[in-house]
């Protein structure tokens, strides 16, 4: 008998069908990877097991956990099961913990709800759970508050809460999506260790095939609320049957086709740049100290080139971006765009500023929801001395929208009418409208599903060829950087620790930090059919 078996689970919320006859099984001591893009129903499947569903959700079918029929249990019985038999780990470690309680109290609570033990005994077991989650007490005492811990450490606290009572089943819903790549590798290793040592069954939900590929024993691939394919991981990766699975695999290793056209002239020169912040201490008299976010950084981007910049959060990537855009002055060195400084007289140099544009990560937060697309797209016009009006402006909007694969008629719509991928296309159209030379792509595809990401990468490659664009591509995702850039810089603690042709750097890393990054990056098995493909993405995916 399986630990968890879901048979023909269907689910509707207020009459809208969300899940259609989903079936899957998890065995103790094994990892089931559940893969799907946003809206595939993978998270709602997990929440069905916990019966923590949105208001108005109705399930039919059968969920059996260790012999118990979950759907026929009362709310009180379910409360007894949650936390004791099933533990859950969530995507967002920064907000998953109560900010007002110590980590000890929060982990001990799992024990106190289910067991009749004293508070002291519960605290002792909490310390044990934290130790198993690799947060030893001597370095992370129980009296710590969540805000005193990093994202990865907080995720360990959530894991400790989930495993405190040694549950039979652990559900991890995108547990590492919000984390840096090296932290991700550590958390995944921890989960794997727990599965083996404590004979837990793990349901590992992810949008990222590569994350799951390393770990899972079995796989389920979901799409639009249905299971399209399932089986043993090894077999499945090598022998995918369903066209969707194959397209998904292909998309995650997708490399857009580009004609290299980098020339010898430098477009952007960054020379010995230092960017310091004054940090205010907590002292009574407000003593200040300096924090060097960017430390003696030098590099060049040649015209027509696509340069990658990789590094983990807090390494100074974003600070450097702001300095390049002339939003802030630098404390040392200089930044030249086509030979001219980007920052003059306390302001961004508008002569060069209008030749640079930026596309940010968040396709939801970077637009004013009350503006129509034409107004959003023409926002960068304020940088121009002579702003196009009337028919000229209409033509520019149409051209920008069409160049990113949207219709001219989309100009009258509001941003909520578009999907995440379409929004990112609009963000690119907004960058293109003033015909810049350099576009800075700051984690521009990180929030997108793999299939959409592949399409946007294709679009970027095509645009750079057609419009002779130069890209500075900033990302924590090595595989994306590898697929679209010719050269790469690796940044750590404000400094460039390694640079060179992208393939060289990733295949033969020299600096220890680069080696760590490359080793930590989740990768699909080498011999898998999809691997790294140059084939265009077929339309069947979306």
């Amino acid at each position: 008998m399986s630990l968890l078996s879901i048979d023909n689970l269907s689910l509707a919320i207020h009459g809208t069908q969300i899940l259609k006859e989903v079936s899957l099984k998890i065995e103790p001591g094994r990892i089931l990877g559940v893969i799907g893009e946003s809206g595939s129903g993978k998270s709602i499947t997990a929440f069905s097991v916990m019966q923590l569903l949105p208001y108005g959700a109705e399930c039919s079918g059968k969920i059996t956990l260790a012999g118990e029929d979950i759907l026929s249990r009362s709310e009180a019985q379910l409360c007894a099961i949650r936390g004791r038999d099933v533990g859950m780990v969530f995507q967002e470690p920064m907000t998953a913990l109560n900010p007002l309680q110590t980590i000890g109290t929060q982990v001990a609570e799992t024990i106190l709800i289910h067991k009749k033990v004293s508070r002291a005994a519960a605290m002792e077991r909490a310390a044990d759970a934290l130790r198993r989650a690799e947060l030893p007490q001597d370095r992370f005492p129980l009296s710590r508050y969540p805000h005193e811990l990093s994202g990865g450490q907080r995720q360990r606290v959530v894991i400790a809460m989930a495993i405190a009572l040694r549950p039979k089943l652990l559900i991890a819903d995108e547990p590492t999506t919000a984390l840096d790549v090296t932290t991700q590798a550590q958390i995944l290793k921890l989960l794997q260790k727990l599965v083996v040592e404590e004979n837990i069954g793990l349901m590992l939900i992810s949008h990222d095939l590569a994350v799951v590929a390393d770990l899972a024993d079995d796989l389920v691939i979901m799409r639009k609320g249905e299971v399209v394919e399932s089986g043993h991981a090894d077999n499945l990766f090598r022998n995918m049957q369903h066209p969707y699975s194959r397209a998904l695999l292909k998309a995650s290793g997708h490399v857009p086709e580009r004609t290299g056209h980098a020339r010898d002239t430098a477009l952007l020169q960054v020379r010995n740049v230092v960017r310091e912040y004054v940090t205010h201490s907590y002292g009574l008299w407000g003593t200040t100290s300096q924090f060097r976010a960017v430390n003696d950084v030098s590099f060049e981007i040649r015209r027509g080139e696509s340069l990658g910049l990789v590094g983990e959060s807090g390494c100074g990537k974003s600070t450097l971006t702001r300095a390049i855009l002339g939003l802030e002055d630098v404390q040392g060195g200089e930044i030249l765009f086509d030979g001219q400084p980007v920052f003059t007289h306390e302001h961004a140099n508008s002569d060069v500023r209008r030749r640079m544009q930026v596309v940010f990560q968040d396709p939801y937060g970077s637009f004013n929801p009350r503006w129509k697309v034409d107004r959003l797209v023409t926002e960068p016009y304020h940088l121009l001395e002579r702003q196009p009006k009337g028919r000229e402006k209409d033509r520019a909007i149409a051209e920008a929208l069409e160049s990113v694969g949207l219709n001219e008629t989309d100009r009258h719509k509001y941003i909520h009418e578009f999907s995440g991928g379409q929004r990112q296309r609009i963000a690119i159209a907004r960058a293109l409208i003033i015909k810049p030379d350099l576009i800075i792509l700051d984690e521009a595809v990180s929030a997108l599903d793999v299939s959409v990401r592949a399409q946007v990468l294709d679009l970027l490659a095509d645009l750079s060829d057609r419009l002779d664009l130069t890209y500075l591509f900033i990302s924590h995702d090595l595989s994306v950087v590898r697929s679209i850039t010719e050269r790469v810089l690796v940044m750590k603690a404000g400094q460039i620790v390694e640079h060179g042709p992208t393939d060289d750097v990733f295949d033969h890393p020299k600096h220890d930090y680069t080696k760590q990054l490359v080793a930590a990056a989740p990768a699909l098995p080498d011999d898998v059919a999809g691997g790294r493909s140059h084939d265009p993405i077929s339309g069947s995916l979306v």
């Binding site: 949650r82 969530f90 998953a96 900010p99 007002l100 309680q101 959530v158 809460m161 002292g283 009574l284």
Partner: protein, 315 residues
Amino acid sequence: MLRYFLKRLLSLALSLVAASIVIFLALEVVPGDPAAYMLGLNAQEDTLNALREQLGLNGTVLERYLSWAGGLLTGDFGISYTYRTPVSEMIGDRMWVSLPLALYALTLSTLIAFPAGIWAASRRGSYVDAGVMGVTQLGVAIPNFWFAMLMVLIFAINLRWFSAGGFAGWDAGFWAGMKSLTLPAIALALPQASILTRVMRSSLLDTLNEDFIRTARAKGLNKAQAMWRHALRNALIPVLTIMGLQFSFLLAGAIIIENVFFLPGLGRLVFQAISARDLIVVESVVMLLVFAVIVVNFAVDLAYALVDPRLRGRR
């Protein structure tokens, strides 16, 4: 925590100094000669001089400010021009009406708002929620003096449970004093409770949508436990802010209600002093109210730190 405390304390002291300067300048320097202002247009020159002497107006602005501020620090607020009694005594008497009244009203409003807000939030979208929201909408909209008069009609004139106005004095016993403050306190508390209920409800609903509530539910807590143990304290910060603002308002803003009920409180004192052009009293009471507001804000800041460990600074 100590640093936070000291920093807040320093900011309290600086605010007080800044406020005293503004009040001093506004009332003494800007309108010209305070003595002429107090005595009116037809005052005799020698009377004016005598009053100037008495008010200590013969000196530079700085000297006058220092002597006024020094007096405030030692509890010497000067002599009221109209009543010919020390202002400190007058304020002391009135304080014993206004402060208990404000505390009484705030207590009532909290006792109503917390349960009502929690009740509405825990039954979001139900008839209970709609009912609470409707009643609080009315409570915010109804002017409190109108409600006060309505209560006087019902409870004082028809039912004769309370007197229609006046203050029995604490000498008549604690309960007699409280009894004469009850109707005014209810009238003051009603709109405050309505606002506080709405803040409590929406803050709690926001918190119930947070990720850590889902984490708590995944641990096995039921809805009520998740709300009481995790949501409530997190929802408290905006509620504390509003309570701080309300207390300051209740202390200073009870003028209308004190007039409706003929209560000898600070609000009425200021009202009378302004009508009588008794600038010394106005100045002192305004300074006192500013002091109260700043001290309440200080207390609210400390309460934040008690609720939220993130404000206590790193250890």
